[in-house]
């Protein structure tokens, strides 16, 4: 097991290095001059001589005149020490500017993941057990609708119904402007603001997972060992949760772990619609503004998350299914 784990870690390091090269070169191939973009706003207010001086200085500060390979070596050696450089937009270290959106995203997604799993797993199991019942058919219709309806539309509908028509929730934001409370009062205010975004993300996510769990459970329930278990006279609850669900878990576990990994990734559409300062919008903004230090740092972070996610998934297979344990 230890040898397998060490091999996987080495593999992760290799993949990380290769992807870092690819990403760095890709980002640097994107057309555009970050120095010129940064000065565009003040071009009209400074003299041409000052512009030329500032432009040269900025290119020097950003290291844009170095050969690409030198820039990569500098960037990589800084990155592995935790220095991702400066954000050209925020004029702050990348790590400092990423903190707040990452914190917001994790805060939101923890609720989303927990609530989604609490709803979808029992619902999927119940639908599989009651396959083709009226309840199952109704759930199937709604999951298809939820699965296929864009979050943008769900968000607009929710805003119209709950914010504009009934004024139950605010249209956007994470807290009331100029809110002075702390502790539970702050939490309450935050949840009041986050209710609609959470609702939209959850509604948009229920369909896919419910259908996936249902399909896995239907497969498991059709196996011979289920018939054997029932023939032995075991209680139906034990048959479902101890025999069928344990076996259905293998395909579902990939989905569940990948869901936990999404705790760190933002939802661009929901963040934009509700003006939440989260990772999705932050990443796209960084790309649009050519704030490549930020964009590439986020991308590398997601690579690490994905690599660890794969490792955890593979290791958890062994926990769930003794047949695929490395030791055995």
């Amino acid at each position: 097991m230890a040898k397998y784990f060490a091999k996987r870690v080495l593999y992760m390091v290799f993949v990380f290095c290769v992807l870092s090269v690819l990403l760095f070169f890709l980002f640097n191939m994107i057309p555009g001059d970050p120095a010129a973009m940064e000065l565009a706003a003040v071009k009209e207010s400074i003299t041409p001589e000052q512009y030329a001086q500032r432009y040269a200085q900025l290119r020097d500060q950003m290291g844009l005149d170095d050969p690409l390979i030198i820039r990569y070596v500098k960037w990589f050696s800084n990155m592995i020490t935790g220095d991702f450089g400066m954000s050209h937009v925020y004029k702050q270290p990348v790590l400092d500017v990423v903190k707040v959106p990452l914190r917001n995203t994790v805060f939101i997604n923890v609720f989303v993941v927990i609530i989604c799993l609490i709803i979808t797993i029992p619902l999927g199991i119940f639908c599989a057990v009651k396959k083709n019942s009226l309840f199952d058919k109704v759930v199937q219709v709604f999951t298809v609708i939820g699965y296929s309806m864009p979050k943008f539309i769900i968000a607009l509908l929710c805003i119209y119904l709950f914010a504009v028509k009934n004024n139950w929730f605010p249209v956007s934001g994470m807290n009331s402007p100029n809110f002075q409370g702390t502790g539970f009062a702050l939490f309450k205010d935050t949840m009041h603001h986050l209710f609609l975004p959470l609702l939209v993300i959850i509604l948009g996510s229920l369909g896919g997972i419910t259908r996936y769990v249902r399909a896995a459970m239907i497969d498991a329930l059709s196996m011979d060992y289920i018939k054997t278990a029932r023939a032995k006279g075991l209680k139906e609850r034990i048959v479902i949760f101890s025999h069928a669900w344990r076996n259905a878990l293998l395909p579902v576990i990939t989905l569940i772990i990948s869901w936990f990994m999404t705790i760190f990734s933002g939802s661009l559409i929901v963040e934009r619609m509700f003006n939440l300062h989260g990772m999705g919008k932050f990443y796209i903004d960084a790309l649009n503004r050519q704030d490549f230090n930020v964009a590439i740092a986020i991308q590398m972070f997601y690579i690490v998350i994905a690599l660890f996610g794969n490792l955890i998934t593979d290791l958890s297979y062994g926990i769930v299914d003794p047949r695929v344990r490395v030791n055995s």
């Binding site: 000052q50 200085q57 139950w168 249209v171 409370g181 949840m191 300062h277």
Partner: protein, 636 residues
């Protein structure tokens, strides 16, 4: 089993509690501080709007579509919203500048700040302004403002230290001695002098005179040096003001970096920045109790102003539900229509003003067919710009015929003359064809007389140039409309012109237009003859470099010495010579309109929508929102 049940119960109760918390009524949060003056709300305002309060009262939330970054000064290239907060706390013309700007964009001596002033024409052609400031000016914490605060600001933001840190460092760039001081060659800024506790002088370098906008060159604002630096004093031994102490990047960088983002921060403006929430990108400004007034002596009457981030999709919902009270510069047709619907329903008002700028086509003035005036003019005739502007702005826009904004005072005062002199290029295929024929575009691809297809012109070396225009497009909404209204216009082909669109990122469009060979040698090669983008004007109308061939500001690369000379002459008018300025402006615009280095496409009519609780609000293209709000109040 029991354990599992308890666990399930706990999880379910957590979900339920989150739901219940979320569903709690949207009343004012209990911990939100009460707003002064709301104890006696106006029960039925009806048509009778209460008069202004005697003390600052109420709260106003401004919807802001640009994210705040938390860097509160503009010296390191920040956005418009942060500039507003900078102005609110005393930056530019927001606090105690020696020279104030009116909403119309005109400059005048700020009599709230300046006790008296004197000008001296020096023998070397330079001009000195001696400012004697009033002794009642204080920061928000009550500490006094003296001449050293004004001089310190000028020195700090002109210094080599902030330049090395990436700031613009151009605060006193037109003053005598700026070059030596900002490069670190001399420690003294010779054009900046401290005369006594409440007097200082600024001397404009002779090479920048005469200059119509002379007053802005000698505008100064106070800066609390102890907030920005450590152990630094400003003194003057008779050769110019300078800093004492360890004024180096190594010693001061950390202080300056911290000060850029610090809250609380000193304020000399009508408001104090009291908090900023990075998570929701919301900034809160509260009234500065020690503010003595703007250039008219007016003090703010709104207690709290909040900047809140909004997005285009839901901004009108925010306004309708009270999420925001003021929405600035709506430009798109659907958004404006939604706003007007709100106004019609009641409870909201709006104000409009023309944008000081326009969307445009920029022609390559030294490449391909667009280097010829007849082609540029023919394109103008083949695009129905009124129709284009109406389609793009949803009916809330206009067409200008030269590089000016409709709100510029010199345009307004010369409008009648310009209407007679300027060619509006009304849509006309006949005129376009006639121009092209006059310009020698009379051949086909084989050198025979043109009958159909793409026109060609015989160049001096005998080669034939096809009338094919390469267009660098960013693929935005304007590009899409241009494709429909111009590129795919059957009359364009009828006239024998072909336009090839190449879609690229906006950054690449800029690189090709500016021929930025530093970024990539390919951009340095003139490739495209047409670009679409937009530009805006500031109140200082200085066209000195925009038409000088080879100059970085001349992105059209049109080489017309007469146009360049006229452009340069406008702002080189004497500050008192208003009539001369206007005449030069008319001459320049008339020639520009004929030469057409650019083709203006549309100029928006901006709409500001606001809750009826805001009273007295007006806006102009040059006014900043906070100075305007100083003259307003809210009724709650």
């Amino acid at each position: 089993m029991m354990k599992k049940s308890i666990m399930l119960l706990l999880i379910l109760s957590m979900v339920l509690s989150v739901f219940l918390i979320g569903c709690s009524p949207s009343d004012e949060p209990v911990d939100t501080p009460p707003v002064d003056g709301t104890e006696d709300p106006v029960e039925d305002p009806g048509d009778d709007v209460p008069g202004p309060p005697s003390e600052p009262t109420g709260q106003l939330i401004i919807g802001n579509s640009t994210e705040l970054s938390g860097d509160w000064i503009p010296h390191f290239q920040n956005n418009a919203a942060e500039a507003d907060i900078y102005i609110a706390t005393g930056g530019v013309s927001g606090g105690y500048p020696t020279v104030a700007m009116t909403p119309a964009g005109e400059y005048l001596v700020n009599e709230t700040v300046v006790e008296s002033y004197e000008t001296i024409e020096n023998e070397d052609g330079s001009k000195t302004y001696i400012w004697n400031i009033k002794d009642n000016l204080v920061y928000d914490d009550g500490s006094p403002i003296t001449a050293k605060d004004y001089v310190g600001q000028m020195l700090l933001w002109s210094s080599d230290v902030v330049l090395a840190m990436g700031a613009n460092g151009n605060q006193g760039d037109r003053l005598v001695g700026y070059g030596d001081f900002s490069s670190g060659t001399t420690k003294e800024f010779t054009g900046v002098r401290i005369l006594d506790e409440y007097s200082f002088s600024l001397t404009i370098a002779p090479e920048y005179l005469p200059y119509y906008y002379e007053l802005p060159l000698v505008s100064a604002i106070p800066e609390k040096l102890s907030f920005w630096t450590e152990g630094i004093e400003v003194v003057d031994d008779g050769n110019g003001a300078y800093f004492t102490g360890d004024f180096t990047v190594e010693a001061q960088e950390k202080h300056i970096d911290n000060a850029r983002r610090a809250i609380p921060r000193p304020s000399t403006g009508p408001y104090v920045l009291t908090s900023y929430d990075e998570a929701s990108k919301t900034a809160v400004l509260n009234v500065n109790e020690n503010f003595v007034g703007d250039y008219t002596g007016q003090k703010p009457l709104i207690q709290t102003i909040i900047y809140k981030l909004v997005n285009a999709e839901t901004v009108m919902d925010e306004l309708a539900t009270g999420g925001i009270d003021l929405l600035l510069q709506s430009a798109s047709g659907p958004e404006i229509n939604a706003g007007l619907d709100l106004v019609e329903q009641g409870g909201f008002s709006y104000t409009t003003f023309p944008r000081a700028g326009y969307g445009k086509l920029v022609f390559g003035g030294d490449i391909g067919p667009t280097q010829f005036i007849e082609v540029r003019q023919a394109l103008a005739y083949l695009l129905d710009r009124n129709d284009f502007a109406k389609a793009f702005t949803g009916g809330y826009g206009s067409v200008v015929h030269g590089p000016y904004g409709e709100a510029h005072w010199f345009y307004q005062e010369t409008r009648a003359e310009l209407n007679e002199k300027l060619n509006p290029y009304p849509y006309s295929l006949e005129n376009a064809v006639e121009l092209l024929e006059e310009g020698g575009w009379v051949y086909d691809a084989n050198g025979n007389d043109y009958t159909s297809g793409i026109r060609h012109k015989k160049l001096d070396d005998g080669t034939l140039m096809p009338l094919v225009i390469e267009w660098a497009s960013s693929g935005n909404e304007v590009s899409e409309l241009l494709t429909v209204k111009l590129v795919e216009n059957p009359d364009l082909a009828e006239a024998g012109i072909q336009i090839n669109e190449t879609v690229m990122t906006f950054a690449e469009v800029l690189n090709y237009m500016e021929r930025n060979s530093v970024e990539d040698p390919k951009y340095g090669v003139p490739t495209y003859g047409m670009f679409n983008l937009a530009s805006n004007f500031t109140p200082v109308y200085d066209r000195a470099f925009y038409d000088q061939y080879g100059h970085g500001y001349n992105t059209t690369y049109l080489d017309n010495a007469e146009l360049a000379a006229l452009g340069q002459s406008i702002a080189l008018s004497d500050a008192e010579d208003k009539e001369g300025f206007k005449q030069k402006f008319v001459d320049y615009i008339t020639l520009w309109n004929e030469q057409l280095p650019e083709l203006p496409l549309y100029s928006n009519i901006y709409h500001d929508f606001y809750n009826d609780k805001l009273v007295g609000f007006e806006d102009t293209p040059f006014a900043r929102v906070i100075p305007q709000l100083v003259h307003c109040y809210v009724t709650e």
